[in-house]
């Protein structure tokens, strides 16, 4: 509904236009949330704009805005087609807003595709780098495969529904017994989306793609894209299959446990911070899957909070990482002495990812755990998740140790500008605000009509 492909060719103003466009998107989205519809389009029940989806959109747009502001200049270094990069990012955002607000399986498919194809291109945008090309090809092949599965799943579901419908609300209704067709369709959909959010055992593309892609786009993929697909994921399973949760919960629980385990354990052994962050994003996805498992009101609030806290922290870390010369842990040695401000903000982001109180990450994790505990089932998974969270502290704290307690000359490529530092402080402040008053964000859910 409110997306635009920016097709500006004038290179000097491209960045400013992108920022302006994002700001407009954000304002438009906010206006919609408050009930001032700027533009009303008849969508024939294909899309459904509730506060959950719109809030998801806001997080995606705001995160992109911050990303562009923080790392926009680094995008210029990748190649010459700056305008195209921004255009592709806007296409992705278009897909994101479809995925967060879809009401029909067709729209979900459309959204996922609009979102994926530009990502394949962005991954390979560093044309002279072999790793980037390899990553793009790998991503494309795997992505195409999962899309096929998704389409098959949708077709099954269409066939299984009594009246032949794509509208998710009607998929499960008036079903006395679960047909094998419906169940297999559901599982195919689960697998394909699990692939998109890099949940184990469908995560194998993630480290290579995240590592190979230019860091700016890794940051984009690992945060904005991932969390918005998650919001769509929760939406689909809650509205579509919420009634039959008991039938498929066990699959989600197994996927969540496997994701947490593989993500965390593998991250421990990484030598490169970038690759560690790739695995940590898998681990964080495992935590987000807990929301899908619980599907209570708390879980939905939690996934919004998780999306915000995780995106903010990860964007911040990636923004700092881009500026580093050396991406290994050793590369961070002694950063605190060279750039105390960068180190301090980076510490806040890492603490947030580890889930330490006073940062947004704590309440994000708290909500996930509380959601599952409130259902009274899967206590083993909660304990397992908590133990994995303790493992995650190991690799996040390795970066902190390198920055503060080890001697070294961590070098940034260029001296960070005052604006960059200011934005990082703003980002860190946001993380802290979420950590003390998570309601600041969640009240948005209560304030607007709760449509679920």
């Amino acid at each position: 509904m409110m997306f635009s492909g920016i097709v500006t060719q004038s290179k000097t103003v491209i960045r400013n236009v992108a920022v302006l466009g994002l700001a407009l998107l954000l304002i438009g989205n906010y206006a919609d949330m408050t009930g001032h519809h700027l533009l009303v389009i008849e969508v024939h029940k294909m899309l459904f704009f509730d506060s959950f989806g719109l809030l998801g959109n806001s997080i995606a747009f705001a995160s992109t805005l911050l990303l562009v502001l923080l790392s926009g200049r680094d995008m210029e270094k990748i190649g010459h087609n700056l305008a195209e990069y921004y255009a592709l990012i806007f296409f992705v955002l278009c897909g994101v807003s479809l995925v967060t607000t879809f009401n029909s399986l067709l729209m979900l498919f459309l959204g996922i595709e609009i979102l994926s194809i530009p990502l394949y291109i962005l991954t390979g945008s560093d044309k002279k780098n072999l790793k980037s090309n390899e990553a793009a090809l790998k991503y494309f092949l795997m992505g195409a495969f999962s899309t096929g599965l998704m389409l098959l799943g949708i077709a099954f579901l269409y066939g299984a529904s009594a009246t032949g419908t794509f509208i998710i609300d009607d998929l499960w209704t008036a079903k006395p017994a679960v047909s094998p067709l419906l169940m297999s369709g559901l599982l195919l959909l689960l697998v394909s989306i699990a692939f998109k959010v890099s949940a184990a055992p469908f995560h194998f593309w993630t480290p290579d793609v995240y590592d190979g892609a230019p860091t700016v786009f890794t940051s984009f993929m690992a945060t904005i894209v991932k969390v918005s697909i998650f919001i769509g994921f929760v939406r689909l399973f809650d509205e579509g299959f919420g009634a039959g949760a008991a039938q498929w919960q066990i699959f989600v629980a197994i996927i969540a446990a496997a994701t947490l385990f593989i993500g965390n354990i593998t991250a421990v052994f990484q030598q490169s911070v970038k690759r560690m962050l790739a695995y940590s994003s898998i681990a964080q996805a495992g935590f987000m899957l807990l929301a899908l498992l619980a599907l209570t009101r708390v879980a939905k609030e939690g996934i919004i909070l998780y999306a915000a806290a995780y995106s903010l922290a990860t964007i911040g870390i990636f923004a700092i990482l881009i500026r580093m010369k050396d991406y290994t842990f050793e590369g961070f040695n002694g950063l605190a002495k060279q750039q105390p401000l960068l180190a301090a903000t980076c510490t806040i982001f890492l603490l947030s990812l580890a889930g330490i109180p006073l940062t947004g990450g704590f309440f994000a994790k708290y909500y996930m755990l509380a959601a599952v505990v409130s259902t009274g089932k899967f206590m083993w998974l909660v304990v397992f998740a908590v133990l994995c969270a303790a493992v995650s502290a190991y690799y996040y704290f390795r970066v902190i140790q390198a920055m503060y307690f080890k001697e070294g000359d961590a070098a940034t490529e260029t001296a960070p500008s005052a604006g960059f530092k200011g934005l990082l402080v703003l980002l860190a402040a946001l993380v802290l605000v979420l950590g003390v008053f998570p309601q600041a964000l969640l009240n948005q859910l209560y304030a607007f009509i709760y449509t679920w």
């Binding site: 755990l369 303790a390 190991y394 503060y404 307690f405």
Partner: protein
């Protein structure tokens, strides 16, 4: 009002401390701040118990059923008072210690850890308690990793992981109870009201999921392995915070958030935990006898003393509970005194090895006298505060009806008192008497600031030892209240 001030003063001054940019200014600043906290704490002590100033309760997270609720009752008064007394003493005693690098950060982090500790002791809301519980850990992590000994990074990280696992498990337990409160509230009253409603079957596992966090912090055998290493490697000022105050967090957690909330679980597992305490006490005392490093010796002695306190909590007697509360205070003061002496010795001679020391009494008579008093308090000789505490603890354990092994426990625990006399007196003999050597020849007697601190400590030791009534009066009501809650059949 007062509890809020106790948290806010160190928090704000600590944050301001990061911008001092001068180690000396930061040092004076933090001393000033800690004295102010002490003044507020004493003000709170002077007020009547019914005074509205002793509690504060403001809206924090209404949708989560959590409020920013803090309050001073007997237990939290005595522990916040201990915290308020210890910090200025620590700052004065380590006045001359030099910290490399950005030393103002050291003082800022110390104040932040004080804020965290105060929060833990004062919170009357479970989520808030958890919040501060973890918050107290973070500054200490940075303090130890930045300014500790050679192996500091690995050792501190071990400590961090241990406590982090424990606290996350505790979080699950707290969330579980929270979801089962009828009004979905984290308030202490709601939690206490749950004690009879949680089915016994659930209390069995809830007990452990909560207790592990506290057991790691205390530490109870076999979860103690982080402690000697961390004490040894941490900078002395931080070791003082760790052993005098942070250890109390574990005991405090059991008294406030575990025993009254899951009494049936506490009842059922009491013997198991007590056995762990006993094993730990004997083990730690035996290891302490063989230690050559002063810091490690005190670390192990701390495990033994804390084990006794934990044992007394699970004895569930009025006299034992009183003993625990008074001993929490005493142990903090005594061990602080021990650390100050160790710090003095190490700074002057450059070693902590008992085998390399000797004859200090000739060179530093003032130090020797003060150490002997502190050491005697540590082994609980009459007229010292340690005697009052341990006497109550032992009689509490002995008269316990919660366990059928009360006599065995008392006898074996009594043995450790003898063992503690062995290693403490042995340490004094080898460090202070005998002939001097090249290292100890250079030693001069203690300076004014150290004299003041040790004199204050000795005064507290003797005062509480001779006239413990004020402290006992302070904690009596709370002890009875907690015991009432622990009796789940009522």
């Amino acid at each position: 009002m007062i509890p809020v001030l106790l948290i806010v003063i160190p928090l704000v001054t600590g944050l301001a401390g990061f911008f001092e940019k001068s180690g000396r200014r930061a040092r004076s600043w933090s001393l000033l701040s800690s004295l102010l906290t002490l003044a507020v704490s004493l003000w709170g002590l002077s007020l009547d118990k019914s005074s509205g100033l002793l509690h504060a309760d403001v809206e924090w997270l209404p949708e989560l059923g959590s409020r920013f609720a803090v309050g001073l009752d007997g237990l939290s008064t005595i522990l916040s008072l201990l915290t308020a007394i210890c910090f200025p003493l620590i700052f004065i005693a380590t006045w001359r210690d030099e910290y490399r690098g950005r030393s103002w950060n050291f003082y800022a982090l110390m104040l932040l850890s004080q804020a965290g500790l105060m929060g833990v002791f004062l919170a009357t809301d479970a989520l808030l308690f958890y919040f501060f519980w973890e918050l107290a850990l973070i500054p200490v992590y940075f303090l130890c990793s930045q300014w500790g000994g050679e192996k500091r990074i690995a050792v501190t990280f071990k400590f961090f992981v241990y406590t982090f696992v424990g606290s996350l498990l505790m979080l699950i337990g707290l969330i579980w109870i929270y979801w089962h409160t009828p009004d979905h509230s984290f308030a202490m009253q709601s939690f206490y009201a749950m004690r009879a409603k949680i089915p016994a079957k659930d209390q069995m596992w809830l007990f452990w999921i909560l207790f592990i966090a506290f057991a790691i912090k205390m530490p109870i055998w076999p979860l103690h392995t982080w402690q000697p290493d961390t004490y040894e490697q941490a900078p002395t000022a931080t070791t003082m915070v760790l052993s005098a105050l942070m250890v109390k967090m574990g005991l405090f957690g059991v008294i406030r958030w575990l025993a009254p909330v899951v009494p049936a679980g506490t009842w059922a597992w009491g013997d198991t935990v007590s056995a762990g305490c006993i094993i730990g006490m004997i083990y730690a005392s035996l290891v302490a006898i063989r230690q050559d490093d002063l810091k490690r010796l005190i670390a192990y002695s701390s495990i033994a003393h804390v084990g006794l306190m934990c044992l007394a909590i699970f004895a569930t007697t009025s006299i034992g509970m009183q003993g625990v509360m008074i001993q929490l205070f005493n142990h903090g003061i005594n061990i602080l005194g021990m650390w100050i002496v160790v710090d003095l010795i190490e700074r002057q001679t450059g070693t902590r090895k008992i085998s390399q020391l000797g004859g200090l009494a000739q060179k530093a008579p003032g130090l020797a006298i003060l150490l002997v008093v502190v050491a005697l308090a540590n082994i609980a000789l009459p007229l010292t505060n340690g005697f009052v505490g341990e006497f109550l603890l032992f009689s509490g354990v002995f008269t316990s009806k919660a366990t059928q092994y009360n006599v065995v426990f008392t006898v074996v625990a009594g043995l450790t008192t003898i063992l503690s006399a062995v290693y403490t007196l042995n340490m004094i003999r080898r460090v202070f008497f005998g002939s001097t050597n090249a290292l100890t020849d250079r030693v001069t007697d203690i300076r004014v600031n150290e004299k003041i601190v040790l004199a204050v400590i000795v005064m507290i030791i003797v005062f509480v030892g001779v006239y413990p009534k004020p402290v006992l009066d302070l904690t009596k009501e709370t002890a009875e209240f907690i015991l009432g809650k622990m009796n789940y059949k009522l």
